[in-house]
């Protein structure tokens, strides 16, 4: 089987990383894969040598095309035996967009977590079968030793940390709220946020985080002066993958209070490094954390305040998962105080990560490609919806 894989794997983003790992998984499974990239930004980052080699493969006579692009970019092409959409979303639906129609044109769709697949199975507008294909990771990355960052402030302290973008969905304010509320100034804990606003300078991102921290402390009103709270460490520069892994090596426990996550690569990396991620019970983390970290209890609520993405996405008639800050605090306290239990959770996490190796995900992809997997929305009577009669009825 020969697969044409279209994705933005040269963009230097988390999405690019996911695409790279899917390509390498297919390759590991023995599938002849032909990667072709699209660019969604101006970043010019290096890609794995193996993908450069695969790019040299002839793109003629591919049996299947996997389009790992934004759904409005999807394009069905009848020359392939199968057109597959690989997409993500972070709320319970996207009916305000043209995405359901675009996705429905494809033969099938792959999504990275079961939460998405379940949502889609309830969505009568999406009429192509959906399969869950989790993100893959290169296990050799986690087997290396990384030197922790030399930050004097962290000496002899338990370090909570976050890695990711700064945007409304990531809900960074909640991490600060939980940390400062839970831990008194005299406790030996610290917090590091490696975060940036896409497209903005490191200085601008740092200023934003400093402002956010001040607002949170003012709002908490726990101490008379902001200087009495724990001091946060903000890292806002672009870091290489090696440097990111050094952040993981520096921290003790990863925390994220995101309202929605299709996967969350930093949380997965943290789990695979034994850093017991504490994440909102949603999306990707709900699937992969299991007993290898901690899920924060959450409740579904209407989206609000997302002005940093497409106008039609994350609007208020969509729902996402709002984490309970009090539960998050208790999980952080538990991680800090219960070192024996945390050690066991860390070991589980390291072990669980191997379920997402190139070879494991490659096999999942292979079984989807060969039609051996069961679609999540198989009971939706997709065949009936794809019938000529049904299409004609739509046109009427």
């Amino acid at each position: 089987m020969k697969v044409l894989y279209i994705g933005c794997y040269r963009d230097g983003t988390g999405w690019a990383k996911a695409a790279q790992n899917y390509i390498l998984s297919l390759d590991t499974a023995g599938v002849e894969v032909v990667p072709r990239f699209i660019k969604l930004n101006d970043n010019n980052t290096e890609i794995p040598q193996r993908i450069s080699e695969l790019e040299k493969n002839d793109d003629k006579n591919c049996d299947v095309v996997i389009q790992h692009v934004l759904p409005h970019q999807l394009s069905f092409n009848g020359n392939f035996e199968k057109n597959i959409s690989l997409y993500v979303s972070e709320t319970d639906h996207f009916q305000n967009t043209c995405w359901p129609e675009r996705i429905s044109f494809m033969d099938e769709a792959w999504v990275p977590n079961s939460f998405m697949a379940q949502s889609v199975s309830k969505d009568s507008k999406i009429i192509c079968p959906h399969y869950v294909v989790p993100h893959a990771s290169d296990m050799s990355v986690y087997q290396k030793e990384y030197e922790p960052l030399n930050i004097a402030h962290f000496k002899d302290k338990f370090v909570f940390y976050y890695i990711g973008e700064i945007n409304r969905r990531k809900n960074i304010a909640a991490v600060l709220k939980a940390f400062h509320t839970e831990f008194r100034p005299e406790e030996d804990v610290a917090i590091l946020l490696k975060a940036h606003i896409p497209g903005q300078s490191a200085d601008d991102s740092k200023s934003y985080l400093q402002g956010l921290s001040s607002q949170v402390k003012e709002g908490l009103k726990l101490y008379q002066s902001a200087s009495m709270y724990h001091e946060e460490v903000f890292v806002c520069d672009y870091l290489t993958e090696e440097q990111i892994m050094r952040i993981h090596a520096t921290g003790d426990c990863f925390v994220s209070a995101a309202f929605g996550e299709a996967w969350c690569i930093p949380a997965f990396d943290a789990m695979a490094m034994g850093k017991t991620p504490i994440c909102t019970d949603t999306g990707g983390p709900r699937d992969f954390i299991g007993n290898g970290g901690y899920l924060i209890e959450s409740r579904q609520d209407d989206c609000f305040g997302v002005v940093d993405t497409f106008d039609e996405l994350c609007v208020a008639n969509e729902r996402w998962d709002v984490p309970s800050i009090s539960h998050m605090r208790s999980l952080m306290r538990n991680a800090f105080e219960n070192s024996e239990q945390r050690k066991s959770v860390a070991e589980n996490g390291i072990s669980n990560a191997y379920d997402y190796s190139y070879s494991a995900i490659g096999q999942t992809m292979l079984s989807c490609l060969s039609g051996e997997s069961k679609a999540y929305n198989q009971d939706n009577d997709i065949k009936q919806k794809h019938s000529i009669e049904s299409l004609l009825k739509c046109q009427d």
Partner: protein
Amino acid sequence: MPGLVQTILRNATRDVNGPLNILTFPTHERYQTNLAKTGHFFYLWQAEGIKPWVRSYAELPQNTVLLNAEKGAAQIPENIDIDIVLSQNKFGQFEIASQIAEQIAAPLVSIEHTLPMQEWSEAQLKQMHQMRGDINIFISDYSRDRWGWSSNDAMVLHHGIDTELFSIDESVKREKRVLSVVNDWINRDWCCGYRLWEQITGYPESTLPLHVIGDTPGLSSAAPSTEALIEQYRKSSVFLNTSLISPVPTSLLEAMACGCAVVTTATCMIPEIIQNGQNGYMSNNPEELRSFVDKLIEDDELAKEIGENARRTILENFSIEKFVEQWKNVFYECVR
């Protein structure tokens, strides 16, 4: 406009040896007619500032489509996946072409038909090196040198003349006459050498049998058709070209293909074509040019020999077959 994904899918699924979809612009009608002989499909983007297609110069080839300028940025039909974008000049076309090529992730070929302005500095010329496509082409070595590009940067593709159409017809008797073919000659004296022609021929009191074709009010009118133009080439023993600045004087090549004995200025790329006294005569001295004309008018045998050699030159270096073959290679190389 087709999306990035569509372009990739098109590349992966199109017939390797099948016709490509090429987006370009109305430029030189005769040149486009020759490009169309590659068998690919050409879609001509129209916009303000881009010259229109002039049907009196050439009919639109069947595999060439004029797009609808009124649709603006949406003028590429949705069901057409463009394989290549071809810019044919750096002023007006290149900017649009490079934007479209980037947007649809298609390779960009840049050919330049014109010469740089004489007043441009070295620095300005160097700056224009940034206006490059994935493949860059000039129409002569002279033109490439003038733009300051090296053979590593850009290739040269000579014009092609349809030598079956522009050919010698033994049944047509050549007359002793001096033909020149130029449009808007008087106004374009700076590049086409109208005053020089007057100086050489002594017009309007010339004793030479002069014949001028071209849309020049007060002097001459255009041939009603390509066939009528060819007939005039075939009937004339001598062709006089006085171009001063012309990257490639197409009428000179056409006259040579039709077996005219040419007398020409030695400007721009002409020295790359003419071997003095063998396949034509060239000089930049008006008196010498006149003496060449006189000599050929008087000696029919010499004119015939020079004319036959001229045709051989065109067959060897400027044939349409060679032109088409080279462009086919460029286009397929682009999408390989």
